[in-house]
């Protein structure tokens, strides 16, 4: 590859007490690609993307966005740089409505004096937008956009979180197991949505345990093992069995498998 990675990390280390979740981990995301990250439970995938999106601060190592070194002190910093993330825990405020949650931290204000001087929110606009994004995902069992998030089923919640990230990500969209709680139909929509986002030229990091999904949509697959990047493969070059074997330690990848 001659192109520079859009998002790059080198030597990330994160320790939790005795546990080392990231152990000198490297990472590269190319512009416009869908990069899948796979690995065993507890391999450190979530920790990796949390470090990339500012939710945790790595103990060591550096992160580069478009060649510039960055330090994200909070998710808001990362978001300001255009990195949008759906966390495994979803990060929703249970008592607030779907629309409130989707616009958290970037609310729309009414035009004119009401918005400028009285800082009044433009609820109708926010609700309309939220409704549209949910429909794109086919989450039509949601009857009321003003429903509190806590009254949604697990899958519905996940749908809302994915819709939020897809709608607002401008440079990178990160999805941590976005389809884990979703049904067949809804999962399919999410995969379509991922492709849509890429079609807009925005690269995506997708963490998933669902091998068929990964092999279907990913351009490259980052295999994570014991807190570090084991190798990066292309789905055309290897079978799912190989990927599973690498990630569980059943096989060791040959040298050539690094990146591509």
């Amino acid at each position: 590859m001659t192109r520079e990675p859009l998002l790059k990390a080198r030597g990330l280390v994160k320790r939790y007490g005795k546990v080392t979740a990231l152990d000198h981990c490297d990472f590269d995301l190319m512009p416009g690609e869908i990069l899948a990250v796979i690995g065993d439970n507890g391999a450190g995938k979530s920790s990796l993307i949390k470090a990339l999106s500012g939710a945790i601060q790595p103990d060591e190592g550096e992160i580069m966005l478009e060649g510039q070194q960055v330090r994200f002190a909070s998710p808001l910093d990362a978001r300001a740089s255009g990195i949008e993330c759906v966390y495994q825990t979803l990060a929703m405020s249970p008592a607030l409505s779907i629309a409130d949650n989707m616009f958290m931290g970037r609310e729309l204000r009414k035009p004119g004096i009401m918005g400028k001087w009285f800082r009044k929110l433009d609820r109708p606009a926010m609700e309309k937008f939220a409704r549209e994004k949910l429909n794109e995902l086919g989450l039509m069992t949601i009857q009321n956009i003003n429903q509190a998030v806590e009254t949604l089923s697990g899958g519905q919640r996940q749908g809302v979180a994915v819709a939020r990230a897809a709608a607002f990500g401008s440079k990178v969209v990160i999805l941590d197991e976005p389809t884990a709680a979703l049904g067949v139909k809804e999962s399919r929509r999410v995969l379509e949505l991922i492709r849509d986002v890429r079609a807009r030229g925005i690269p995506i990091i997708l963490i998933s345990h669902n091998m068929p999904h990964v092999f279907e949509v990913a351009d490259r697959i980052h295999i994570h093992r014991l807190g570090r990047r084991l190798c990066v493969i292309r789905p055309q070059d290897y079978s799912m069995s190989d990927a599973v074997a690498f990630m569980t330690g059943a096989k060791v990848p040959d040298e050539a498998a690094t990146a591509a």
Binding site: A55, S74, P75, L76, R79, C85, Y87, T89, L90, A91, M92, S93, P94, A95, L96, D100, N101, M104, G105, R106, E107, R109, F118, R119, K120, L121, G138, M140, T141, Q143, V184, K185, R188, M211, P212, F215, E216, P235, Q236, D237, Y238, S239, M240, S241
Partner: protein, 357 residues
């Protein structure tokens, strides 16, 4: 190599032609059901109902109760608690608790008075300094909560004692008398003036309290900042991940609460005439405001409830206290019955909510 790639998704062919119908459920239709639904959607209505019931009952028991003077007395007795309740509500919505509200109010009022009388600073400037000092005390609370990450209960338990002790030490327990203030610095007593439509006295302070409640209700409901306050109280980690500057919001909330307390301190001067460092609000303001907040239906776990509910909560307590005192005689029994009422009011609230859930 990729022999298994294609087949994996094959069963998804079944999706073709999937129904896009939204699930349909029968809506409740009866008037009762609609009432219940409305109650559920309008949490502040429940304390309002309790309040109206209380007023009617006391009105039937005691004829004096319905006189305009009685009702205006109740209103003026709750201005301090009402304003402190605004401060407390903000903090409680972020899942915190502020035990120092009363102490900040008293110390601010003492500062306003002493600045004027000890150092001869013009009253309006003293008031400004007092308000700034209250805000600073609130800011200190917020800083400790948000930056040092101490539990709000502890922080404000500590600052409560610190501020109250500082208040006594600084003032040397000296009261500034009402007549002196009236003569030399009437601005301090501004909120004690009143209008008298039809002979019924209504303090400026009552209007101030209502304005503050309305303002906060608007801010919490219709601005982004208000939504952030709820989000922080609901689940701070989620709010942080979702892009709310949790710590900044917390500090702002506590500082704003401090400002409200200082305003309450200013109002205290108008209402009590004098400036007294040993005003009971310093000791009891926290419990009183928390009672109003909880009876008003704001969850102590944060993120749920409305400021208007708090206002009705304060009114309920005010009406009950006045009503009981008018009906009964012995303060000990009044104290007893108010304890019962706190529990019953909240139990009724819970019950209505459950019925309508």
């Amino acid at each position: 190599m990729s022999s298994d790639t294609k087949t994996a998704a094959s069963y998804e062919e079944g999706l073709r032609g999937a129904s896009d119908k939204v699930a349909e459920f029968h809506e409740p239709k009866s008037a009762l059901k609609r009432l219940q639904h409305w109650l559920h959607m309008t949490p502040s209505a429940v304390p309002m109902i309790v309040l109206i019931a209380a007023i009617i009952i006391f009105g039937l028991k005691e004829e004096n109760f319905f006189r305009a003077v009685t009702l205006s007395t109740i209103l003026q007795q709750l201005v301090i608690v009402g304003i402190l309740g605004c401060a407390q509500s903000l903090v409680v919505l972020t899942a915190g608790i502020d035990l120092s509200v009363g102490a900040i109010a008293v110390f601010s009022s003492v500062l306003m008075g002493q600045f004027t009388f000890r150092y001869g600073i013009p009253a309006p400037l003293s008031i400004g300094l007092g308000l700034a000092a209250g805000t600073a005390m609130g800011f200190a609370n917020g800083w400790l909560v948000a930056r040092v990450k101490l539990p709000p209960f502890i922080v404000t338990l500590g600052t409560w004692q610190i501020i109250l002790a500082a208040n006594y030490i600084y003032s040397a327990n000296e009261t500034i008398r009402s007549s002196e203030i009236a003569a030399e610095a009437p601005a301090l007593q501004f909120w004690g003036y009143s209008i008298q439509p039809g002979g019924v006295k209504i303090l400026y302070a009552v209007f101030l309290m209502i304005a503050l409640v309305a303002l906060l209700a608007y801010v919490l409901r219709h601005t982004a900042w208000g939504r952030h306050v709820y989000a922080v109280g609901d689940d701070p980690e989620a709010a942080e991940l979702a892009g709310v500057r949790t710590r900044r919001v917390l500090i702002q909330v506590y500082a704003l609460a401090g400002l409200f307390c200082a305003i309450a301190g200013w109002v205290m001067i108008g209402r009590f005439g004098s400036v007294s460092p040993s005003a009971s609000t310093g000791q009891l303001g926290n419990i009183q405001s928390i009672t109003a907040v909880v009876i008003g239906g704001i969850s102590l776990f944060g993120g749920r409830g409305s400021i208007v509910g708090m206002f009705f909560g304060a009114l309920i307590v005010g009406v009950f206290e006045m009503g009981l005192k008018m009906v009964g005689t012995d303060p000990q029994w009044t104290f007893f019955l108010i304890g019962m009422l706190i529990i019953i009011a909240v139990a009724v609230d819970q019950w209505i909510r459950k019925a309508s859930a």
